[in-house]
């Protein structure tokens, strides 16, 4: 049932194809007071908020399918060569991976607190502080990722003509690192986009745009941030921890 628009039992009898008399200009004036952020094609703020959040959820479903293709590739090739993947996984630095996992989980906390600050009409300084904290943690994640990538470059672990592998499964190892760079690279790209979004949200919060009546942008951006976080929660064990699993 539509929640956004009221149900009605009576039938509107008037001719809907006759323009009302007052339409002469190019714009129909709204006669009663609306929230300034209410867009013209919505009836109520509730409808607008529901549409925006549903839109973000649907978008996140497409993101799941997008990463899903990569997870499928991972599944196929890991099944084909579990030992090779375990061997290749040993060259990833579990400590850095764990640090990054913690950094992202904390950033989700600061993000959630940022949404709450907007929802409770906290002062702009508080809202901005949480968003800046989230961005700092996101940037820290990318910094660690840069350190790790540099390490892979110096050790010839980047797939392609310069790839070198001393172990028993060079082909599987190269496949593992192809997937490693595709998966973490796309994830990092999502982080960069997330930082851009947070920048905009931070500026909007600074300009006092958000309060208990209007906080949808913070909320939907938060949904996106949490999603990117969750992708990493899957990437970390799949890429970093399988080596330990196999050697035991």
């Amino acid at each position: 049932m539509s929640k956004g628009r009221a149900q009605a039992d009576e039938y509107y009898p008037g001719p809907v194809h006759q323009p009302p008399v007052h339409i002469a200009g190019t714009h129909v004036e709204h006669t009663h007071g609306h929230h300034p952020k209410l867009q013209h094609h919505f009836d109520t703020m509730a409808q607008q908020i529901e549409a925006s959040t549903l839109g973000m959820w649907v978008f996140l479903v497409t993101e799941i399918m997008f990463f899903g293709g990569l997870f499928m590739c991972y599944l196929v090739y890991r099944t084909a060569s579990p030992e090779g993947f375990a061997e290749a996984s040993h060259h990833l630095n579990v400590t850095w991976g764990a640090v990054n996992t913690i950094v992202l989980i904390v950033s989700s906390l600061t993000m959630a607190l940022g949404v709450r600050a907007a929802q409770t009409s906290a002062p702009p300084k508080t809202q901005v502080a949480w968003i800046v904290a989230t961005m700092a943690l996101g940037a820290a994640f990318l910094g660690v990722k840069a350190i790790e990538y540099t390490d892979k470059f110096t050790h010839h672990l980047v797939p392609g003509p310069y790839f070198k592998w001393e172990g028993k499964h060079p082909a599987a190892a190269e496949m593992f690192y192809s997937l490693y760079f595709c998966m973490t690279g796309l994830h990092a790209l999502h982080m960069v986009i997330g930082l851009g979004i947070m920048m905009v949200i931070g500026i909007m919060a600074w300009r006092r745009q958000f309060d208990a009546d209007y906080y949808t942008p913070v909320e939907v951006s938060g949904l996106y941030w949490h999603f990117v976080d969750i992708v990493w929660i899957f990437l970390f064990p799949l890429l970093y921890l399988i080596g330990g699993h196999f050697t035991e």
Binding site: S2, Q7, Y11, I23, E50, V76
Partner: protein
Amino acid sequence: METLNYINNGQGLASWLLTKDHKRIALLYLASITFFFFLGGLFAFMIRVELLTPAGDVMTADTYNKMFTMHGVVMVFFFLIPSIPAVLGNFLIPIMIGAKDLAFPRINLLSWYIYVLGGLFTLTAALSGGVDTGWTFYTPYSTAAANSHVITAALGVFITGFSSILTGLNFIVTVHRMRAPGLTWFRLPLFVWAHYATSLIMILGTPVIAITVLLVAAERMLHMGIFDPALGGDPVLFQHLFWFYSHPAVYIMILPAMGVISEIVQAFSRKNIFGYSFIAFSSLAIAIIGFLVWGHHIFVAGQSVYAGMIFSFLSFVVAIPSAIKVFNWTATIYKGSVRLDSPMLYAFGFLGLFTIGGLTGLFLAAMGLDIHMHDTYFVVAHFHYIMVGGAIMGYLGGLHYWWPKITGRLYPEGWAKFAALMVFVGFNLTFFPQFVAGYLGMPRRYHAYPDEFQVLNVASTLGASVLSVGYVLPMVYFLWSIFAGEKSPADPWGAKGLEWETPSPPPTENFYVTPIVTHGTHQYAPSKEVGIV
């Protein structure tokens, strides 16, 4: 002073290129899609010219490969997939549900710009030498061997996919959140149900092709080797990922056409649809089961027999909801006051051609028969019966049916009937001989062929010429009608539905007063409540 409507409300190029009105965006799509349709048609014409004679004499084999590749890429990704949703769906869904616009008007405009950007990439690939991989971009040819502009074309497909995702997202949110008071799910027009199901496929399938072509591009540029057997990759995995999207993509093309046919059949039989809820749910069934049949493209590519059997079984199952629709449309026409206006002619064409296309699909879904038919012209004929005989017939039928609403002008009905006839005759003459040629063993994608197939190929090329006249004619009289056509009343057909209750062309906010709906929107027989389950 002329009544204000969405066309004259705002003048100048910027008012169109920066519009957030779903109706204007639909027209932007209409213009760009028409361009790609005729571009794709040009490639098809080159193919047919080459195949007039058994010897490969008009162009080299390489050029021929590029022709059918560009034909496929342009027609599938830049015409068929966006055609009905982005033009008719975009224009009609908000009006049919009594809303002022789609839920996200700016995202709607963004989707058109993304579409254009993807189109520019593909045009660049075409103009700078073309792509020769086939529209399927099969690896390892596309990654290791093809010496053509694969990356550019793949990125074009990648980019335009996002336009499709955004359109689907917009439709889903709109149908959930923007319906007019009293417009319950089971009062929705079946056109809206069909687009809802289509949108599900768009959001679930398109991301998978996006990541797949991205991996192909990465493999070509960075030597990643995900699909390259030389590097331990598996080319069949590419086929799985590719068809996971590209088979459901066929339903992205045909489901909206089915929605159009549901509307036309009711309007020109003057009857309530037979089995409303069956048609509504069969759209969802097609969307869901359609995701589980992709393996029937890989029967001969090394897939296990057991996987093949399951995919074969599911491919038979997915035919059932389509058959339900065909039977329900037939039952709707039965004992109706049938009017043979041009949209109805297209609907009749659709019914016959789609049925043939669907049934020959069952031939191909049978594993044993597919070994004989695989990669022959039988396959080509089968999917053209669905995509051209089904989807384009639906698109043209819908365009004729709603043209008076879109432009506020009537087109010359006599010419329209003549064009519909040309399309029907031309189509069958083009593609029926290909069933025969394929059954006799003529393989697809060759620019030369044995002499005994010449009669069939000449017939096919002759048919393509007739068909092209049938396609050019509507463009001529549609354009003419904009300038010189008679003005259309709000409801020129005497049809039911919210879109016919607002003026032609509609005002910018679609309705002067938000409609309140108290019964099914297509109630031709007043006595009973339609479609409440």
